[in-house]
């Protein structure tokens, strides 16, 4: 009984202190601009999500340190939702209650799930999901991101392989190249560009083999690689995140699959050559901005803020994900500034007077200049494709999809 009283007393005291500290700290200079952020620090995509989350917080610090939104500070409400769609839906409602003017989202599943709702609520939703399904303003007007979308990246990667690698193959001119996809079927992120990449493979004249279902958590993919071996692909496209992609590439190497590899952007970062070592050599992928620490405009700030706010994590461990987070924050900052200047900081104004007035807006960081129009939310049609050589990323080609297939780009390829 005495023990029970002590335990109860302890919890009451702890709660009172925490609440007290909270209310004291809550008081301060008024009227910041509220922005919500959903990140994955613990879920299926946390291998890339953690660095992105750190980048979001650091970039918001940078925005606030450099004058905020025309003098107004941004108050960031950043939550880990563990890559769980229901948790994301709940947090979105919380953001509404907190009067957030925009949300910095994360996964494809939750972003696509929330898409009709954000459209109805007119809530600008800048996500780390670059799903092509989110690029058509007729269907998803309030979904935006600074990068080229997954479908565009996938089309560019397979085109770059076809242009640069296939002509050097011993069987070039004798048969069609063989292509297969490896990804988690049930993951909205992984499966988002499948239709587009297969369409591009058909356009380029590939033989398409059976898809392989590989979990985002995969550490052993031998059965999938053995299945692939029967088809003998020349190139395999990987749709998962880095941890799973590295496991698949490692197994492909050890089983002697003999195919080249391409990866979606969230499976293609500084950790891939570290985890897959030799097996990662030659892997290609579209990078939506510069890698962490590369010498490009704006990178000095990214590196400095990473050091300032997360000094415990050495620069060698930071990833391109931080830079991607900065990209999304910087376009949101610009949109908020433009809307605020026009005197209207509501969702519709942020979209119409902010995002959709950006025409080749340069955020630096090695990202393509950003253009949003009322009819097209794809930021650019030229995609740089990289290859891993000696553990480093080297530019292979800049694929101009818009210039090469102008009709299809304008009329057919938007929104999927």
């Amino acid at each position: 009984m005495y023990f029970k009283k002590i335990v109860t007393g302890f919890y009451v005291l702890l709660l009172s202190v925490l609440l007290g500290a909270g209310f004291v700290s809550a008081a301060g200079p008024a009227k910041p601009i509220n922005v919500g952020a959903l990140n994955d620090m613990t879920g299926a995509t946390s291998d890339v999500g953690r660095d992105y989350a750190l980048g979001i917080a650091e970039a918001i610090h940078y925005v606030n340190d450099t004058g905020g939104i025309n003098g107004k500070q941004i108050k960031l409400h950043q939550f880990d939702y563990g890559y769980r769609v229901p948790e994301a839906l709940t947090k979105y409602k919380l953001f509404q209650r907190l009067k957030c003017v925009a949300v910095l989202g994360w996964g494809t599943g939750d972003t696509e799930a929330l898409s009709p709702t954000v459209t109805k609520d007119k809530m600008p939703y800048v996500s780390a999901s670059y799903s092509g399904h989110l690029t058509d303003p007729k269907k998803t007007p309030y979904n935006l991101f600074f990068a080229t979308d997954y479908s565009t990246n996938a089309r560019a990667s397979i085109t770059a392989w076809f242009d640069k690698k296939w002509p050097k193959h011993a069987d070039y001119g004798k048969r069609k190249p063989r292509f297969a996809c490896s990804y988690q079927f049930s993951s909205p992120y992984s499966s988002a560009p499948i239709k587009a990449i297969k369409d591009q493979a058909t356009i380029l004249g590939f033989d398409i083999g059976p898809d392989q279902d590989v979990s985002l958590f995969a550490i052993d993919t031998k059965s999938q690689n053995l299945a692939l071996k029967e088809f003998k692909p020349d190139v395999v496209w990987h749709g998962n995140t880095t941890m799973s992609v590295s496991a698949t590439i490692r197994d492909a190497y050890s089983l002697g699959l003999g195919a080249d590899h391409m990866s979606n952007c969230w499976g293609f970062d500084e950790n891939l050559p570290k985890m897959a070592a030799k097996a990662a050599e030659g892997t290609m992928g579209a990078a939506v901005c510069a890698f962490f620490g590369e010498k490009v405009p704006g990178m000095d700030k990214v590196v400095a803020y990473a050091k300032k706010y997360n000094p415990g994590i050495p620069a060698s461990k930071r990833l391109i994900r931080t830079v991607q987070a900065w990209g999304d924050v910087l376009i949101l900052q610009e949109a908020l500034k433009r809307a605020d200047k026009a005197g209207k900081l509501d969702g519709e104004s942020i979209l119409k007077l902010g995002f959709e007035t950006m025409n080749k807006f340069d955020i630096g960081l090695g990202a393509p200049p950003v253009t949003f129009t009322a009819t097209d939310h794809r930021v650019a049609g030229i995609v740089p494709v990289y290859e891993i050589k000696d553990g480093k990323f080297q530019l292979v080609d800049k694929v101009d999809l818009k210039g090469r297939w102008p009709e299809k780009w304008a009329k057919e390829w938007i929104g999927w």
């Binding site: 909270g22 939550f79 880990d80 563990g82 769980r84 229901p86 599943g109 009709p116 079927f185 988002a192």
Partner: protein
């Protein structure tokens, strides 16, 4: 018969009085006030956020009701109930999106209500399939077979096959306007709230009445001692499977209703953790009590939200707190179960029972 003491001076003179739902004028007034609060006061004073919390409570009640019936009243421990919610949700979604409904039914807004009923039946039958091992095994072994329901249903059948319908292997999108009940398009929290509250009341009344019947008494007998129950002539396999059917049926309703609150549905909505969560609700609320299901649901949802509210103002001082909130939430869930099992193993329903008795017997509550 009521399990609480009647207020001083109230006597029953016949069985009708003894078995009445609302036995005294005071109870009738209380229930009237409760209904007024549920239908008029709460919707008026709550903003969209609090209505969404109420909807979560409703969803948890519907989900946990089946678990309560199985664990609390029939003694069949289940750890895979989220699977049956998933079956309900997916059947309803597929029916609404893919089934060629006659135009008249769509126009009258009957497609979705009919889909709720069908999905409940399908979920009930699916639940019976996984209840079949209960004829031969019990205890830990039954827990494992019910866990299999989760993995076979959600991780295998739904993820690998059902989710593939439509070609992209992703969430089924439920555009605004898809869910319609009669003339009402369910497109706001308040409409979901009203639908939820009606279904929660119907299901609670249904289960409570079932428990007052021969079937309910058979379930309780099986829970207390299945061998004795069989000796008394109860067909225990039949009644166990009936319990699984009813639990799955209610789970199916829960899943089908939940889709009205979503813009899209994917297997991620029904993780195994949710099955565990529903058992936690029953343990905290009190096993063997319908009140307990409701109290447990309110406690689990509201306490988590209050915890979040307590943490949010601290974020300025401790910025990592919000990012770590998922840990805090899950730790609080584990801690709550531990504390209840140690200090209040009969759950919140027992406290409610004690409080009611105290006031009913006052001033002679000794």
């Amino acid at each position: 018969m009521s399990t609480t003491f009647l207020p001083c001076g109230v006597y029953h003179e016949n069985y009708k009085q003894d078995h009445a739902w609302w036995q005294t004028r005071f109870i009738k007034s209380k229930m009237f006030l409760l209904l007024v609060s549920l239908f008029f006061i709460i919707p008026r004073i709550s903003d969209s956020y609090w209505l969404s919390i109420c909807n979560q409570i409703g969803y948890t009640v519907l989900g946990a009701l089946g678990v309560q019936l199985l664990i609390g009243f029939c003694g069949q421990v289940t750890l895979g109930h989220a699977a049956f919610l998933a079956v309900g949700a997916y059947v309803s979604t597929l029916l609404v999106l893919e089934f060629p409904w006659p135009a008249l039914l769509v126009e009258w807004g009957l497609a979705y209500p009919i889909s709720i009923f069908i999905s409940a039946i399908v979920a009930g039958i699916w639940c019976v399939l996984f209840g079949l091992p209960s004829a031969r095994v019990k205890g830990f072994y039954l827990i494992l077979t019910t866990m299999a329901a989760q993995f076979i249903t959600v991780d295998f059948v739904i993820t690998q096959y059902v989710s593939q319908i439509g070609g992209r292997g992703q969430a089924f999108s439920l555009p605004v306007g898809t869910i319609k009940v009669g003339p009402w398009v369910i497109d706001s929290d308040i409409k979901v709230y009203y639908m939820m509250i009606v279904l929660v009341i119907v299901c609670v009344v249904g289960v409570v009445n079932l428990l007052r019947s021969r079937v309910g008494r058979a379930w309780v007998a099986i829970r207390d001692n299945d061998i004795s129950a069989e000796v008394m002539g109860i067909d225990i396999v039949k009644y166990k499977l009936l319990a699984f059917f009813v639990a799955g049926f209610i789970g199916g309703i829960a899943g089908a209703v939940w889709i009205s609150n979503l813009a899209a549905i994917s297997p991620e909505h029904f993780p195994w953790f949710w099955s565990l969560w529903l058992v936690g609700v029953v343990l905290i609320g009190g096993a063997g009590s319908i009140h307990g299901t409701i109290f447990g649901s309110i406690f689990m949802v509201v306490v988590m939200e209050l915890l979040q509210m307590a943490v949010m103002p601290l974020a300025d001082t401790y910025p990592k707190l919000l990012l770590d909130f998922l840990f805090i939430k899950e730790s609080a869930f584990g801690l709550a179960i531990c504390l209840f099992l140690i200090f209040e193993p009969n759950g919140l329903a027992y406290r409610w029972w004690q409080a009611k008795n105290y006031f009913n017997l006052w001033p002679f509550s000794y």
